[in-house]
């Protein structure tokens, strides 16, 4: 093991996958992988911390690249927008939109869940890994990674602000981007904007 952490030769996807499956055989391949990166799905939120701790301590993933969330409810609700958007880029503003609003596509796995994804990096061995986890849309919760990476601090607060997902163990789970008077979580697909004094 010691020899493995010293080496800085680039790690391949297959090596990483084999290495992870030795310790965590219940990690599932994600339904949709992120580009060419290795993407794994966690069976439940209790698995997150052990897997990430193993990645950090044993496999050299010392860098939390990004935390992201996707609301899989379906195409965004038009009711949430104040102004009617125009999809046709060749028409002037205010013209009658001559295109259909986004509609559900067959084959896409729409579901009542928010998909969280974490991107972890091993800087020396130049490899990235995506971990995914589904949490419920209402009252979604996941463990916070702040005890392992301080980079999680503001990124988790951002997701709490925009999606309403709570991260357990975060010392300061408060809004960060939207103003105090914003009602709801704007990046949810069914978000309805409440008019405020600036509209």
């Amino acid at each position: 093991m010691a020899a493995m952490t010293v080496t800085s030769a680039p790690m391949t996807k297959e090596e990483l996958k084999a290495e992870l499956e030795k310790t965590f055989p219940d990690l599932l391949p994600a339904k949709a992988s992120v580009g060419d990166y290795l993407t794994l799905r966690l069976p439940d939120s209790a698995k997150l911390l052990p897997v990430v701790r193993h990645l950090k301590d044993k496999l050299g993933f010392d860098y939390l690249d990004m935390v992201n969330a996707t609301d899989w409810l379906g195409p965004v609700s038009l009711a949430g927008f104040i102004r009617e958007p125009n999809f046709n880029i060749f028409l002037p503003e205010g013209a009658n939109p001559q295109a259909e609003p986004p509609a559900k596509t067959a084959g896409v796995d729409y579901r009542d869940a928010i998909e969280l994804s974490w991107c972890l990096s091993n800087l020396a061995r130049r490899i990235k890994l995506f971990l995914k986890l589904d949490v419920p849309r209402a009252g979604g919760k996941a463990p916070s990674l702040i005890s392992l990476y301080k980079a999680a601090d503001w990124q988790e607060r951002e997701l709490f602000d925009l999606y309403g997902v709570r991260f357990d163990g975060h010392p300061n789970m408060t809004k960060i981007l939207t103003p105090d008077f914003t009602v709801g979580h704007p990046l949810l697909k069914d978000y309805i904007h409440q008019k405020d004094r600036f509209d």
Binding site: A32, G35, F87, A99, A151
Partner: protein
């Protein structure tokens, strides 16, 4: 924007100082609530969100061509890199090829933009430290880069030059010569900057050993770009995952050692040397040919899928996570904004520093609030 603007509870020997949001040295609308004891900062609470425009939400109803326009507005000081980042992600979903001439033009524009952005940092950091002259020099040169951009796409700030599968239009005939002229003019200027500011004893006193970030802390907080490399971590997206043909270019990645304000400053100055090298190589590689690839519809609808692309922006590792569900607008667009993630370390590193060093540290991190708040 969640923190109450009122001062927190203070002990009798403490004082609350409200820095920003309208303050020249916060480089935008950033507010930092500082609690000081004598001259020492004991608590720092950065407050952001004043420039939040919800661009990630806007993208959910706009076509992929529209989103390039949105991308200009994040890091408006290096908009070319933003354009490139979004276009690379969308091209991955659309599976289209970019012609060679367009790739070299993209690289040349991005590196010129990096020079322009670092020049602005150089100038404003000088002002933060009380050196006004450097600013005038930097803006004279930056103006020349902006003129080059104006020649190629007509815009000076939000270019929208890099388009899906290529670039907007070819550069005019005189552009390459003008660009070489600028590079020749600029090279001796960099030496001048070293004499003027970099090794100026007063400047060194104010930046050397101030606000040091250790290697471990830089990685822990997820810093990227010159901030990370100043602490001695060799990580550059152009080298680790080359895009747009960067693997064919010969350049070095400048590293610092101590990770203090001066290291962060000087990393950027040395990056300008490297950018000159890259632009020269890109100009030499330019061959006549098409500048826009085929296969991009007027309203592109990529097949459902997910892509993540990261590029080395002027401020750090700029990433775009793009999800398509087959509609004309991205289902989800998430931006890994380097300024946002770099800024988070402020709450920890300002503690224990002197009040007079706060501006030096804030300036050396080099943030753009358009990108912090998105």
């Amino acid at each position: 924007m969640s923190n109450s603007p009122a001062a927190p509870e203070l002990k009798s020997d403490q004082l609350f100082v409200n820095l920003g949001p309208q303050h020249p040295s916060t480089h935008g609308v950033l507010r930092v609530g500082l609690t000081i004891e004598g001259e020492i900062v004991v608590k720092a609470v950065p407050d952001i969100g004043y420039l939040h425009r919800g661009t990630e939400k806007l993208a959910e109803l706009r076509g992929y061509h529209h989103c390039v326009v949105i991308s200009d507005r994040w890091d408006y000081l290096s908009a070319m890199n933003n354009n490139l980042m979004f276009c690379l992600a969308a091209e991955k979903l659309l599976k289209v090829e970019v012609p060679e001439r367009a790739q070299h033009l993209r690289v040349a524009m991005c590196e010129l933009n990096r020079i322009a952005s670092h020049l602005l940092f150089f100038g404003t950091f000088g002002i933060d430290m009380g050196a006004f002259t450097a600013f005038l020099h930097a803006f004279r040169e930056r103006e020349m880069v902006l003129d080059l951009f104006e020649m190629s796409c007509g815009a000076r700030l939000t270019y929208n030059y890099i388009r899906l599968a290529g670039v907007m239009k070819d550069v005019p005939d005189a552009w390459v010569a003008r660009c070489r002229e600028f590079l020749e003019f600029f090279k001796p200027r960099l030496k001048e900057y070293d004499e003027l500011l970099s090794f100026n004893p007063i400047f060194l006193d104010r930046t050397k050993g101030v606000g040091a970030i250790s290697k471990a802390a830089a990685v822990d907080w997820g810093l990227s770009g010159p901030n990370l490399r100043a602490s001695g971590v060799d990580y550059d997206a152009r080298k680790s995952e080359p895009y747009s043909g960067y693997e064919k270019y010969d350049f070095d990645v400048p590293l610092g050692g101590d990770g203090d304000c001066w290291d962060r400053y000087y990393c950027r100055v040395r990056e300008m040397h490297e950018s000159i090298k890259i632009v020269e190589q890109a100009l030499a590689k330019l061959q006549p040919g098409p500048i826009l690839g085929k296969g991009v519809a007027k309203v592109p609808k990529p097949v459902p899928g997910e892509a993540y692309v990261h590029v080395e922006g002027a401020r750090g590792d700029l990433g775009c996570y793009l999800v398509s569900d087959g509609n004309m607008a991205p289902y989800r667009m998430h931006i890994r904004a380097p300024s946002f993630i770099n800024l988070a370390i402020l709450q920890e590193m300002l503690v224990g520093e002197r009040m007079s060093d706060v501006i030096a540290i804030l300036g050396s991190i080099d943030i753009v609030l358009g990108e912090v708040d998105r």
